[in-house]
């Protein structure tokens, strides 16, 4: 080859390279790979037995099909997925800062946003796979009670949720680029979502004075919409309020996160701390 290599616009091939890299690395940790999948079975088994304590037809479970096991499994499976979308980007930035690979990635022609997305793609896809496997295990071995599934509801709620949580992830990554640790987005949303988002119990059980906080966090609408679409045989129109709420979150978070990320990269380059840890 003479002169400079013919450089093409980065795209699918670059993302594929990130995926291949991470899969190769993951396969060198075979026990961790297997243990991560085994954890799914144990989680389902735990909620299977906890569900025996909750009588069928409990009123607060009514809007979600009435079965606590199905309610909890969908909540836990999707909360794990949303957590990864919310924290995955920041985690890969932090990991690359600590491992020392970030600088080598940033001197390549690949734009910073694609470095960030590519670096987290494997974790995101693996978590999607884990979520699907979680539901499949619950269905095959523990009697997950799916209703008449609304494909349109699942697809739209899923898409808007992913956009929403990826935006939170970009905000988190922006914070980590500049301040390195102590990411408040992850802490606030991670902690609050577990308690107030209705992951393992219905939001309706919360005292009224705190229930209103649930309406301010996107996980409430994401899980609500997903459970109605998967478990409660809800018509598409019944999921529309959740879809509208998620769309509103997206409308605010997408531009906010993009601006924050641009400012964070610029500040880190100005301060000379892009690859510091």
């Amino acid at each position: 080859m003479t002169g400079q290599a013919r450089l093409r616009r980065p795209g699918a091939a670059v993302l594929a390279a990130f995926l291949r890299r991470d899969l190769r690395e993951a396969l060198t940790y075979k026990f961790s790979f297997v243990a991560s999948l085994a954890g799914i079975f144990l989680s389902s088994a735990t909620f299977y037995f906890v569900a025996k304590l909750v009588p069928a037809g409990t009123p607060s479970l009514g809007p979600f099909g009435g079965d606590y096991f199905s309610f909890a499994v969908v909540g836990v499976a999707f909360a794990g997925l949303l957590g990864m979308f919310q924290e995955g980007l920041a985690a890969v930035v932090r990991s690359a800062q600590l491992s020392g690979t970030l600088e080598a990635l940033l001197v390549t022609p690949v734009p910073v946003p694609m470095v960030l997305f590519g670096s987290s793609l494997y974790s995101l896809l693996f978590q999607v796979f884990r979520t699907a496997l979680h539901l499949a295990v619950a269905l095959a071995f523990f009697g997950l009670a799916l209703g008449r599934v609304s494909g349109a509801g699942v697809a739209l709620v899923g898409l808007l949720t992913i956009i929403c949580f990826l935006s939170v992830g970009v905000l988190s990554a922006s914070f980590v680029l500049v301040y390195k640790t102590g990411n408040p987005f992850s802490w606030i949303l991670g902690t609050v979502s577990g308690l107030l988002g209705g992951v393992v119990f219905p939001v309706a059980l919360l005292p009224p004075w705190i229930r209103w906080v649930s309406s301010l966090i996107p996980v409430t609408y994401a899980l609500d919409g997903m459970r109605k679409s998967l478990l409660a045989s809800a018509a598409f129109a019944e999921v529309l309020p959740d879809i509208a709420a998620l769309a509103a979150f997206d409308a605010v978070l997408v531009p906010l996160s993009l601006v924050a990320f641009r400012l964070a990269v610029r500040k880190a380059k100005r301060d000379g701390t892009l690859s510091h840890y």
Partner: protein, 266 residues
Amino acid sequence: MSEAPVLLAEKLVKRYPIFRGFRELVFKPFDRRTVTALDGLDLEVGRGRVFCLLGPNGAGKTTLIKILAGLVLPDGGRALVDGHDVAREPGPARTAVGTAVSDERSFYWRLTGRQNLEFFGALYGLRGAARDRRIEEVLRIAGLDGAAGLRFNGYSTGMRQMLAFARALLADAAILLVDEPTRSLDPQAADRIRSFLRDELAGRQGKTILWATHDLGEAADCADDIAVISRGRIHLSGPAASLAGGGRAALHQAYERAVGGGEGRP
């Protein structure tokens, strides 16, 4: 210099903010203090030259390399890489240089040397058979063709440094930035790296090399041109033949006069 320089810095300024403790942040929130890394630095590197940037620790060498590599934005002045302003045209500027990030932590330790190069090759836009050919080529140039299938964590420090050069060569950029490439190497490995840069990359491949070092002997032996940097400024610059023509002792005296026995940034 008759031909346009491939690396150009004009009145380049970089100041880093000084870390402030909680107390200062609370009681003096607007008191933003900085330390000056580059203080109006001017530099020109001609095509095909081995240019050694010689200076003590904290002189500003790494900051200049990082600005040219697109990792740090300057606060003033401008820096051009093959005619592209690093602040205004970061994409073309980054593709015009190969930066040898010599930190051994910049690789994926559980992947083999070849797998690491396959990954970074993809980031440089190389695909399929062309990528594989280029990887074989840079492995051969770096003398690692026999070790390409070994995991990176099995490489010696010298092999890791050579793999960093192989990675920097993937895109076949005409300009290479190398920052203290012989640091932490034993004398024999350091000599191999020096002759690799001087004879192979500059001599046979015709690369322009900006080479930051604090080793006077390295600069005297390998450079076409030398610039002495201290406290963010170039104090002395010229062809190595004139600066080091009287041997290492003469270069040492010139260096001492230029730096004044001073250190760079603390």
